[in-house]
């Protein structure tokens, strides 16, 4: 069977399992949403009424499939907290914010880590390597929200390069929107840059030990030529996959950072919805974040396949 077909099937299976998991998790909530929403006003009749309205009286499988259908059509019912606002209305715009935050973070990760990793691997033990190693270790040891606070403090309050808490709607002024997103993205990216630099360094160092490098040297290639023409592509291949894996971490980071910078994204909504026990919204956000992660990984796997001649057809 064709690789892409296989990959697509496995993508669909994973998607299905993830959906099932996201759905089932919220079936074990102690006391359902209807009760928690009514609070002290709960009378048996009122509860029953609400349960019917939310569809809780239906069979769990029927509910799962209608919910799964809703994930794609956008019809995920109403928010329990902000009834009658629908879940998709709540999520809609915020998704754009989170996706852009993710894209900018990944861009920053790639732009910083790959050259830095190369330089570190080229001169292990050199100044750049030592300094970046210590910086990387320190950044990996600080919780991401603290890094967000530090970025606000340094770039926002001391250097005044941006206005903390300022947010511009992407539809009204897109360039300004991106400017507002830059420092949050940097905060998300910092710990991941640290990880990726180290990964890139390990990858390059591993490649440098391989036999083909010795062959290249024996051919008369200069150090630079070996780096650029032979090692770079080989060592980039695992990094591509690594960045795919890091997407999940970037999403996790953005949940924190959106709260630090007060950005109206999925993360902030998620945290608020958890506090409000608005499980319809929580469930939908969990699903969409997972969906983002698997989709990116699906794309990354295909890109890898095309770039690596050993797997390309």
């Amino acid at each position: 069977m064709n690789y892409y077909v296989k990959k697509l099937i496995s993508f669909v299976i994973t998607l299905f399992c993830v959906a099932l998991l996201s759905f089932l998790l919220f079936q074990i909530v102690p006391g359902d949403a209807a009760i928690s929403q009514l609070g002290t006003e709960a009378t048996p009749e009122k509860i029953e009424e609400l349960r019917t309205e939310y569809g809780y009286d239906r069979n769990v499988f029927v509910r799962f499939f209608s919910w799964l259908g809703g994930v794609f059509t956008g019809d995920l019912g109403v928010s329990i907290k902000y009834n009658p606002i629908t879940v998709s209305e709540l999520i809609g715009q915020r998704m754009t914010v989170t996706i852009w935050l993710g894209i900018l973070s990944i861009l920053l990760i790639v732009v910083f880590s790959i050259p830095l990793g190369l330089i570190c691997a080229k001169k292990p033990g050199g100044i750049v390597d030592t300094v970046s190693d210590w910086l990387a270790q320190t950044f990996m040891a600080i919780p991401s929200f603290v890094q967000g606070i530090l970025v606000t403090l340094i770039f926002g309050l001391v250097l005044s390069w941006f206005v903390p808490g300022k947010y511009v709607n992407p539809t009204s002024n897109f360039p300004e929107f991106l400017r507002c997103m830059f420092f949050p993205a940097l905060s998300v990216a910092l710990p991941k840059i640290a990880m990726t630099v180290r990964f890139m360094k390990t990858s390059v160092k591993k490649e440098l030990k391989k036999d083909y490098v010795r062959t290249a040297k024996a051919k008369g290639c200069s150090q630079n030529r070996i780096m650029w023409k032979h090692v770079l592509k080989n060592s980039m291949l695992p990094v591509i996959t690594f960045i795919g894996l890091i997407v999940a971490e970037v999403m996790a980071g953005s949940i924190m950072i959106e709260k630090v910078f007060n950005l109206p994204g999925l993360g902030l909504l998620l945290v608020n919805s958890i506090s409000n026990r608005d499980y319809n919204v929580v469930q939908a956000i969990v699903m969409y974040i997972a969906l983002l992660v698997i989709t990116v990984n699906f794309i990354v796997d295909i890109v890898y396949k095309i770039l690596d001649p050993r797997t390309a057809e």
Binding site: A141, V146, R310
Partner: protein, 825 residues
Amino acid sequence: MKELKYGKLNKRLIAGGLLLGLILVPVVINVFHTAYDPNEVNYAEKFLKPSWAHFFGTDDFGRDIFTRVMMGAATTFGIALFTVTFGALIGTVIGALTGYFGGIVDEILMRINDCLASFPSILLALVVVSLLDKGTWNICIALGIVFVPSFARIIRAEFLKERGKDYVLNARLMGAGHLRIVFKHVFPNTLPILFSAVLVGINNAVLAEAGLSYLGLGVQPPEPSLGRMLSEAKTYLFKAPWYELFPCLVMIVFILGLTMVSENFGVSGVSLNAVKRKIDRIREKSGVPEEEDTKDKDDLSEKKDTPIISVKDLDVGFIEDDGIDDTLKGVSFDLYKGEVLGVVGESGSGKSLTAMSIMGILSDKTVITGGSILLDGKTDLTKLDEDEYRKLRGGRLAYIFQEPMTSLNPVKTIGAQIDEILDIHASHLPEAEQKKLVIDSLEDVGLPEPDKLYNMYPHQLSGGMRQRVCIAMALVAKADVILADEPTTALDANVADVILDIFKHINRKYKAAIILISHDLRVIGKLADRVIIMQDGNIVETLGVDISRKKTEGKDGKYSEMPDHSFEIPRTQYGRHLFAAAFSDKIYKDTEDVDKKQSETIVSAENLSVFYKSANKREKELKKVIDNVTFSIPAGKTTGFVGESGCGKSTLVKAIAGLQKYTEGSIVLKGDRPGMVFQDPYSSLNPAFKVRRILEEPLRLKNGFGRSIIKKNREKMLSEIKSMLHKVELGDDILERKVSELSGGQRQRIAIALALLQKKALIILDEPVSALDVTIQEQILELLMKLKKSIGLTYILISHDKRLVSRACDEVYMVENGHVTPMNS
């Protein structure tokens, strides 16, 4: 080199340990004794700066921050410890069982694992916490659940790697049960990885606790935790920066310490494993075989006018921590135009090092400390600057490496890789002309369809073809010195012969001088005009061709009859030794008591077919490796199976040993399961054990392995083991050593002792000597035959080496394309 690395890492370990101590000691003291009540509110002392009374100052309620940080750290570390223990325990059991047994359960669990990996871990923890409600215990459970998959994944990967190793097969042959193998044999080997995974896990748990607290879902007030303090303090960043600073510092120092300690054990927070697994999957689905890791080679490195290369008193040293360790000591020889010079020696004798010195591609840790290498009698290569040298490399000097499978860049086409040499050395050639030269060179080494080959990638070529591509690289630049370092060792016998023919061809056609390095005198005998014998970094002697000796007899009648070479008789002891071993005709079969045991059969196979299930899970079909064969193996003799690699001979004997799941037809074994001695003594003995423990295992299995029984039997076991060590000609002092400290020959002796301790009557020898140096090979063969006679053993010997099999076996079967045919010699 190992020690050098070790010493450096230990420094980091100590530094990391100190950092951890710096945090943990006050934290522990604080649990028992605190100077202030951490929760006592005192508005009068609000926001005091750090002082001797309050090391870290006070917070918005006037509480002592030092006390609170220490209390908070205890809570945070406690949560981390609990969650990681929880995750590691469950994860290890799941990972061990699924990794070892595989199958459908493994498949399902890995799928679930993949799904869980699509949720950012903090998201999963958030959801669990939100479902369970807040509170310290609930955070523990939530984070614990989140950690299970990652531990399961790490341990599974280790078990998957270990389960195919020969020591596991060995344990099965001994009769150890699966659970015993999982927990007693394999598990100890995964401990280093597990340990560092635990450290990385603690690191992640500390950060996760902080994250949850920040989102208001962690530890609830007034109980302090590092995470809660960090998020509470952010409001007072300007007013009381110390409030934020100190909890943050404590966390950073703690995690830095952890990282430094965990790196010492080989795993960093960066998961290479997960990446490798994904890439393997992509390859698997595209039908590309898994790439084998490039093995670390032990090998440290390697007419009558002016010699083209003249090496004089060359000293090469290896940089150690405390100075330079001499590896080549005063090596001198000449290479003339058009000559083939053989260099022979055992591994570590310095033959590759010599060649790499000429080529100027020594590793950074290796330096030339004396002597000269003259090119054309005038240019001293040791004094050449890097740019000049580069012009020679790949130009006049060409190097051909041992491993054709890994010597080419996997992501560049064959054409581009040869082309590169012309780019560097013959610039300004028109592109079309350059391409023609490349294709000509491919044709010259006998590769079919060079036009098509030009655009192909290395993985699409066989090992023999790749080695030809490497030779073509030497041709395209018209190199006049070719250094061939074990060019045929990695190849099958018939392919190796073709490669040697190509060398002969280019030597004649282009008059290129060739230095042919090999551990195998027989390879060198086929090609070389002269041979240099090396030992321990010295040249022992140089032998030229003795034309008169070609068919005449030598003094001791052994190597003289060889048609394989025409070298002079070696004069030194070592040289004679090497020649005797390489060209030995010593026959090990018994000729006398053939009739006595003729009738008895120990193994008989009838219409036996053996199938191989590919490790690739998606390939459901079984591959037929052995096709309907019938044979019987007589007791008390040596029966050989000979064939090239991949012919199915190993699969066949594993079926005899009962280690193959998928067979058809019948195998009848008289008596016990056979014992086995594997080719690679590095993987057939459990690396986690000492020699004593390895040899005790069969006795423990026999006598029972309860603690009291082992204690009672200790003396008896020890004496039994000692007498067995004596039989395999090893001293008692070896008992307390680890496998990694033994030489190849010693390991193989232990492997033999292991089989004998099980009182096996039938022993399968799977390439028992091919990983050993020639001189050691003969010693092991000698020992095997002596034991066979004295104990009355039956051997099944498998080898790719026809000569060896015909010397050692009473009966020989040829294995080819899944068929087995008796060979009459």
